[in-house]
């Protein structure tokens, strides 16, 4: 069986779950535990990635500089990665700084149909000598063939791996098999998968990805991540081991890291609440959940209605401002009905 490279974005996707309030002490503690568990790559940052701290998607309580510096200091063997969405992150302000701070892997992401927005960022990172991957988010919003073409663009820009994200936890295993299979058959670089657990399928979907030829899987401690959370790393590792895949991760180490994460980082362990199920059904980015809850309460709306309305609008990550627009429309319609 093939080796699977596990990337752990607990300290990035998990930041969504706590409104980007990770502290340097929490980052230091988890990095030490992850390093000890021999997790090969740890991703750190604001939930929306480098340079994303803003009123629109949430102000982080720790700066990018402090997060990356802290992580780098406490990762002795694991590589440090960052999530990068062009627009939030700029080359001069953010990427150059991250290079200086020693980030090893830059994961340049975009909405699944907009790979051309990543060309400059991918090319820049390649020219610095650091490793760069392409990330296609909300990958359920395009056909497998469309996803393949966007992935081919990223590969042509110099991406050294392509990861597709099931950002709203919408996929079932056969969806993953089809998409990963299409990418594996056409790309020359490694292919990866990042799952969310809205419909309780994150581990199953990750296994489907591995079986279809993906060699990179994202997973987080206790599934700590946006919405219903991600693929649970301490579950995925033994499952992959039982299936005969090698991850190189120490089982007791990853179990300890997950315990530590629950104790030190998570106010609440992710669970599949109704709102997350609706988010998965509607195909809306899991990271919207907190915003939808807040806005729905403010306007006296059922957040499930807001999610389905957002699904009809086909909103994507970064369009958090549309939540208020949709809420206003629903509130107006509700008032009219009364």
């Amino acid at each position: 069986m093939a080796n699977i490279l596990i990337t752990d974005p607990t300290l990035r996707d998990g930041n969504h779950a706590i409104s980007h309030k990770l502290t340097t002490a929490q980052i230091a503690a988890y990095c030490e535990a992850a390093d000890k568990a021999r997790i090969p790559i740890v991703e750190v940052g604001h939930g929306n990635g480098l340079g994303a701290s803003s009123l629109q998607v949430g102000i982080a309580s720790t700066t990018d500089d402090d997060m990356l510096r802290t992580a780098k200091e406490h990762l002795l063997n694991a590589k440090l990665s960052v999530h990068v969405i062009p627009g939030f992150a700029t080359i001069n302000k953010d990427l150059k700084r991250a290079v200086d701070l020693g980030v090893d892997v830059f994961r340049i992401g975009c909405h699944c149909s907009e790979a051309d927005t990543t060309q400059q960022h991918i090319s820049f990172v390649r020219n610095t000598g650091r490793e760069v991957w392409g990330i296609l988010m909300m990958s359920h919003m395009i056909t497998p063939e469309g996803l393949r073409d966007e992935a081919l663009k990223m590969e042509s820009y110099g991406a050294e791996a392509i990861v597709i994200m099931d950002s709203s936890g919408h996929f079932l295993p056969e969806d993953v098999t089809q998409r990963i299979g299409e990418l594996v058959s056409r790309l020359t670089v490694p292919v990866g998968f990042h799952g969310h657990n809205n419909l309780g399928m994150a581990v199953a979907n990750s296994v489907a990805a591995a079986n279809a030829g993906a060699t990179i899987i994202d997973a987080t401690a206790r599934g700590f991540g946006a919405g219903a959370g991600n693929t649970q790393i301490e579950v995925l590792v033994p499952v992959l081991e039982r299936l005969g895949y090698e991850t190189g991760i120490d089982l007791y180490g990853v179990l300890d890291a997950a315990d530590l994460a629950e104790r030190e980082i998570m106010p609440v362990v992710p669970s599949i609440k109704g709102i997350s199920i609706v988010s998965g059904m509607a195909g809306v980015f899991s990271g919207f959940a907190k915003h939808v809850d807040r806005v729905s309460a403010e306007y006296g709306l059922d957040p499930r209605d807001v999610f389905f309305a957002l699904g009809k609008r086909q909103v994507v990550a970064g369009q958090e401002d549309v939540i208020i627009e949709v809420a206003l429309e629903l509130a107006a319609a509700k008032k009219e009905r009364k």
């Binding site: 790559i41 892997v105 090319s123 000598g129 663009k153 042509s156 110099g158 670089v189």
Partner: protein, 348 residues
């Protein structure tokens, strides 16, 4: 030992051109127009022709047509300021005519950079197809046209079978014409057919060159091709990263050989005939990476990406038997010399 970049290029041009000077007599006192004139190919052709002018008193005039000729003032100022070199700013698609005394044309006006054609395939296809048509429409009105060399691509053959170490000029395997990545190859095939049709209907002499991979001075290191990236990584001190499988086989012709071959094909190639141009010497990318590393001091490490790699080895190597048999062309520089000279140029 050359002390400037221009000197190094001239030394290598002399070495590659010396055996072809006699064959190129037809371009004496001629006006040669090159589309894509300030790119890698155009710049090297200009180096070769100006060498013939300077050393062998050819008296040829060169017009370089490109979208941004100011680029040449930065990349090769010694060429841009010459009296026998004229610069014309124009998109190849907008050509309406050439000077009446143009008697030779090299149509090299498109980029093989796959970032360009995957991002804006419509524009890339239009540049190749409409651009070729615009050049042909202008060419058929020239009263003294002797010949046109059309730069096509080795990609027109489709993927090279693993069992086929070298592609001949008849090795067509087909490709998925509905794939977004087929834009460049498909457009080049259409351009070849356009050339054939114009040659037939208007009785003009057109020769096709099908380029493979080249390396040399003037080629930008940020281009998404393995050897460019190896040299870039090496010049930075390494590590040199191999993407994909190190077993992938490519071949690299040095730029000075390329310009000598292209001029020979322009002048001596048979009308309607296609000639592969590139090195027939296939090399695994893992070996290319090591060859590049060997040119650096201290020797950088050759590594794989953290993401790992996949076994997707492919081959892209031409047979150049036709060019050798029909035109007497053989490369002067091997791949190691090509890498050594390119690295030296970048260090100057």
């Amino acid at each position: 030992m050359s002390s400037t970049r221009a000197e190094l290029v001239r030394e290598d041009t002399v070495q590659a051109m010396v055996q072809h000077t006699g064959d190129l007599a037809p371009i004496r006192n001629a006006h040669i127009l090159i589309t894509g004139g300030t790119g890698f190919v155009g710049t090297w052709l200009t180096e070769a022709i100006t060498y013939l002018n300077d050393v062998h008193k050819f008296g040829a005039r060169i017009t370089l047509l490109a979208r941004n000729t100011a680029r040449l003032r930065e990349t090769a100022p010694h060429l841009a300021r010459r009296k026998d070199v004229a610069l014309v700013d124009s998109d190849v698609r907008n050509i309406r005519g050439f000077d009446n005394d143009v008697s030779w044309i090299v149509h090299a006006g498109s980029t093989p950079d796959n970032r360009v054609y995957t991002t804006d395939g419509i524009k890339a296809a239009d540049t190749i197809i409409s651009g070729t048509r615009a050049v042909l429409d202008a060419a058929i009105r020239l009263p003294e046209l002797n010949g046109l060399l059309h730069l096509s691509s080795g990609y027109v053959y489709g993927p090279q079978p693993a069992a086929d170490p070298q592609a001949t000029e008849t090795s067509f395997n087909g490709f998925d014409s509905s794939a977004v990545t087929s834009v460049y190859a498909e457009s080049k095939r259409i351009a070849e057919t356009l050339c054939a049709t114009y040659a037939n209907q208007h009785r003009i002499r057109i020769v096709h060159a099908r380029p493979y991979a080249f390396i040399g001075p003037y080629q930008l290191l940020d281009r998404p091709w393995a050897i460019n990236n190896f040299i870039r990584d090496g010049l930075r001190g390494g590590p040199i990263r191999i993407l994909g499988d190190g077993a992938t086989v490519r071949s690299y012709m040095y730029a000075a050989d390329m310009s000598a071959w292209l001029l020979t094909m322009l002048v001596r190639g048979q009308s309607g005939m296609s000639y592969n141009i590139g090195s027939p010497e296939g090399v695994k990318l893992a070996d290319v990476a090591q060859m590049v590393a060997d040119q650096m001091s201290p020797t950088p490490r050759v590594s794989l990406p953290i993401a790992g790699n996949r076994t997707t080895a492919s081959t892209f190597v031409p047979s150049t038997a036709r060019a050798e048999e029909k035109l007497g062309l053989t490369p002067v520089f091997d791949v190691v010399s090509a890498i050594r000279r390119t690295v030296q140029w970048h260090k100057l």
